[in-house]
Point group: C2
DNA sequence: GCGCTCGGCGCACAACTGTTTACTGAGAAC
DNA sequence: GTTCTCAGTAAACAGTTGTGCGCCGAGCGC
């Protein structure tokens, strides 16, 4: 999107092995965490010599950072579409949850990576994911600001709401992933719970009072 | 609490180096993830020979599982107290958030460990944390069931609510930790956001309609 | 076509890993 | 006081790791 990609067949080849490295790393991350993956392990999986790795990345951590952009870039578009699509609350929730479920089904390794490394052992990757999710939250907040229910909401409250949504999405995606691998509840159950949680938030939103003390229950 | 602890001074010594191993592991986990920590690395930090490790744990993963019980055991009591303490919603939220903040200040390494390994690269530890948090969610649900607002809530809905609370606690604790290390927003800011999110949930709770279709906003 | 660029290779290097083996010696048991 | 238990040791094992070096040789610009 930003780098110049000269169409010479040599750069093409380079881009292809770079892809292979990224894919191999992603695959290995299914059962390990980034900080325990060896450079040699990756090159072995790709079928190139260890030294060749340095032609593409400085570090394994560097490869990790590259994976962050890739993984969250695609999710980005999906969620944004899912949120904007319908303004009716019930349908919107269903669509959003479905969108997440579909994404997890199509890119399981990507979200596995994000969830695992969000609080993982590699600082650079952690902060990369963090700032990506921050931008994400801001965007969601912006979309939600357009709803009628958001009238009178302060920017800060909207921001908080956006973070809540993003965190919920990540957790839901993670739960879907577990479901797909047979660990934890079924996909239906996860979707069910996710919808109810979104509904809970939705109710809270509709009756939100920004500053007043909350009455006793 | 469960194991027989003969007061012979030899078992005492053994228990002490076991503690040292656990502490060393916890300390190393501050900047790495469990799957990348070496057995030798731990024994070196403690000052014993690598082979001595096997007198206490079969694996590094085994040590990890032991850390899970320890880390979440203490949090358990704290949160339960924080939740039960006050029935007024506003005060309860404040107390809960304060309790989390205090806990993070007192046991930063423990929650660091839990957050990092919850979705980390070691399956055994992952499931140990998962089941611990599950029990946790059930307990929270039970406490919340005693509120007046929970009249008419199905067991399933309560369970969902409990999970929401637990997830929120973990995320908040993680945010507090980041704050303490100077990454991300300040502790005050984290507490502020956490309180608002809890308030949002609280509003949602009060206006919850279990099955009916949600009206347009 | 000639020279240059540069992705990839092979090899060497020192450092490290987990695990086993036979052992020592302080303390328990009787 | 003698015997047994067992946490911890030292040494060796075969692998593995990241990184540096010099060298190809296919493809590029010209």
């Amino acid at each position: 999107m930003s780098s110049s990609t000269p169409h010479t067949q040599r750069d093409l080849k380079k881009a292809r092995t770079r892809r292979a490295l990224l894919d191999a790393g992603l695959a290995l991350l299914e059962e390990q965490s980034l900080s325990s993956i060896g450079l040699r392990e990756i090159t072995r999986a790709v079928g190139i010599s260890p030294a060749a790795f340095y032609r593409h990345f400085r570090d394994v951590a560097d490869l990790g950072v590259a994976l962050v952009e890739e993984s969250l870039g695609s999710l980005h578009a999906v969620i944004r579409a899912g949120l904007t699509e319908r303004s009716d609350d019930g349908e919107r929730i269903d669509h959003l949850v479905d969108a997440i479920a579909r994404f997890v089904r199509e890119h399981p390794e990507h979200i596995r990576f994000v969830v695992r490394e969000r609080h993982g052992g590699v600082a650079a990757v952690r902060t990369a994911i963090g700032s990506q999710l921050d931008r994400f939250a801001a965007e969601v907040a912006e979309v939600l600001a357009r709803d009628e229910v958001s009238r009178g909401w302060s920017a800060e409250d909207l921001r908080m709401l956006g973070e809540t949504y993003v965190d919920h999405m990540v957790m839901t995606a993670s739960a879907f992933l577990d479901a797909a691998l047979g660990e934890g509840p079924s996909e239906e159950a996860v979707a069910h719970t996710a919808r109810r949680q979104l509904r809970l938030i939705s109710f809270g939103r509709r009756h939100w009072i920004s500053d007043a003390a909350t009455p006793a229950p």
